[in-house]
């Protein structure tokens, strides 16, 4: 396990050490091969996981693997986790479908990673990003409906207004849906949700349960 040690308070612009001793973590920046804090908070130094020692007797001479440097980071809370306030490329986000058109579904991003976003950001799932196979047969109204909660991945920062999201993986898609009658439905297959009261099934791009 990576061990974390907590150090003193850092203010923006405070020198933390040379780049030859530490790797830059969140809340730091590099200036002239030195690490400086860029946030107000507490300094954390997390040691890299120890590589397992030589299990077998050495049979040949190889250069030592590059030694992992400890990562230094600055954050306000006691944890050295990255604060996710903005969606970034490759983040997994949870969002609600706002409206659908034949070419795209417009969603509002609510959760990014493990943190609930303070501001609401708008995203778009284009028809070609809904699933990985048979992309030309995808119909948005058979994949999403307004009000659905969708798990998706950020693929681009997009244009001025929207983040571009993709659900082209088994784990991504609708995770909560309500039927036209207004009941919460349960998934029955990779493309169907079923209403427990009326028994009518509706089409969705269903996320594979973890």
């Amino acid at each position: 396990m990576a061990s974390t040690t907590t150090h003193s308070i850092a203010i923006p612009g405070q020198a933390l050490g040379p780049t030859s001793k530490y790797l830059p973590g969140p809340g730091t920046h590099i200036h002239e091969s030195n690490l400086y804090s860029s946030l107000l908070g507490i300094v954390h130094v997390s040691q890299p996981e120890k590589a397992p020692g030589p299990a077998k007797r050495l049979t040949k001479i190889t250069p030592l693997p590059p030694t992992e440097l400890p990562t230094i980071s600055v954050s306000r809370s006691g944890v050295s986790e990255k604060r996710e306030v903005l969606p970034e490329v490759n983040n997994v986000v949870l969002c609600r479908v706002i409206r659908i058109t034949p070419r795209q579904a417009v969603v509002s991003i609510l959760v990014c990673g493990d943190s609930v976003l303070e501001a609401e950001w708008q995203g778009v799932i284009r028809v070609q990003d809904v699933r990985a196979t048979e992309k030309d047969r995808v119909k948005i109204y058979e994949s999403f409906r307004p009000g659905d909660i969708v798990r998706a991945e950020v693929i681009s920062l997009g244009d001025q207004a929207n983040y571009y999201l993709s659900t082209a993986k088994n784990e991504y898609g609708v995770i909560m849906a309500t039927s036209e009658a207004g009941n919460t439905m349960y998934p029955v297959s990779w493309k169907e949700y079923k209403d427990p009261e009326t028994g009518i099934s509706e089409l969705r791009k269903v996320a594979k349960p973890y």
């Binding site: 920046h29 860029s38 107000l40 507490i42 303070e118 501001a119 609401e120 001025q160």
Partner: protein, 288 residues
């Protein structure tokens, strides 16, 4: 300007009542003496986290001088964001900074309107330039941050009749305060900065006996005449100046005055920065 929606005060200058106990006669004869050495700033109070609804906020106060009727400086700053840009804004790979500086209607001798006037717009532009050099803008793509500074008390001599003093010198003190308070609020909001930027003012003054000298943190009413003044926003650990505002009548041949004014401005900014650093340390100890 007719503003019918709000209750407006008198448009022209108003003289506050002068009470007898104040020694109205004595006040006029107050000698033009600086209350502290030429390289010492007035005492500064700085505190973060004063506005709970904002992502970051700070309050700055500069003490009043010994002379009665002279007000100090009181500034409140709040930082909102990072938040999403409006739909009409074009794509931006970095954070969009917008600074707003507003005098409270009662902050100065001359009553201020509710709409921003040219001085306030000027201050906003200066503040924005000073902060833009300090923040790491590309850490926050597609977002914007609003910095709002309210001037509650505007560092003026109320005893002086309107129109005698030049307000520009006071504006410089206000700007340096704005830079310091906004820097504290930005750090409180958790927006990445390369350094803590602080403002400092220096001035070339002529005393009554005709001696010229350069002082830090000038107060117009404490000196005979201010020839020139300089306000700098300075990053101490980078040794960089992000904003420089110079005003006054100086002969262009006298290059040494220019350098000395900037040097003293930087020195004043370093002094203010020590208060800022202490304040930020306290913020983490109290909240973290």
């Amino acid at each position: 300007m007719t503003d019918r929606r709000r209750i407006n005060g008198p448009a022209a200058a108003t003289i506050p009542p002068v009470f007898l106990d104040d020694g109205g006669k004595e006040q006029k004869e107050t000698p033009l003496i600086r209350s502290r050495p030429s390289d010492v700033l007035r005492k500064l109070f700085l505190k973060t986290g004063v506005t709970p609804s904002a992502s970051g906020s700070a309050y700055l106060e500069i003490e009043t001088t010994f002379k009665s009727g002279v007000s100090g400086l009181k500034l409140s700053c709040s930082v909102h964001g990072p938040r999403s840009l409006p739909k009409s804004a074009p794509f931006s790979p970095h954070i969009i900074l917008s600074a707003h500086v507003k005098y409270a209607p009662f902050a100065t001798k001359q009553r201020r309107g509710y709409l921003r006037d040219s001085t306030e717009r000027d201050l906003s532009v200066h503040l924005e330039t000073a902060l833009r050099g300090a923040i790491i803008a590309d850490r926050w793509p597609k977002s914007g941050v609003d910095i709002v500074v309210s001037i509650i008390e505007g560092d003026q001599d109320r005893g002086e009749a309107a129109g005698t003093g030049d307000e520009t010198w006071d504006t410089m003190n206000v700007l340096s305060g704005c830079v310091t308070v906004a820097s504290a609020a930005l750090a409180d909001a958790g927006i990445d900065c390369v350094d803590t930027v602080a403002g400092g003012v220096s001035a070339l003054v002529v005393d009554r006996d005709g001696a010229e000298s350069v002082v830090m943190d000038p107060v117009a009413s404490e000196h005979g005449k201010i020839m020139a003044a300089c306000c700098v926003a300075y990053l101490p650990s980078r040794d960089e100046v992000t904003n420089l505002w110079f005003k006054g009548n100086l002969e262009t041949s006298d290059a040494q005055w220019y350098t000395e004014l900037v040097q003293k401005g930087i020195q004043a900014s370093r002094s203010a920065n020590r208060v800022l650093v202490q304040c930020l340390h306290d913020t983490v100890k109290l909240t973290g």
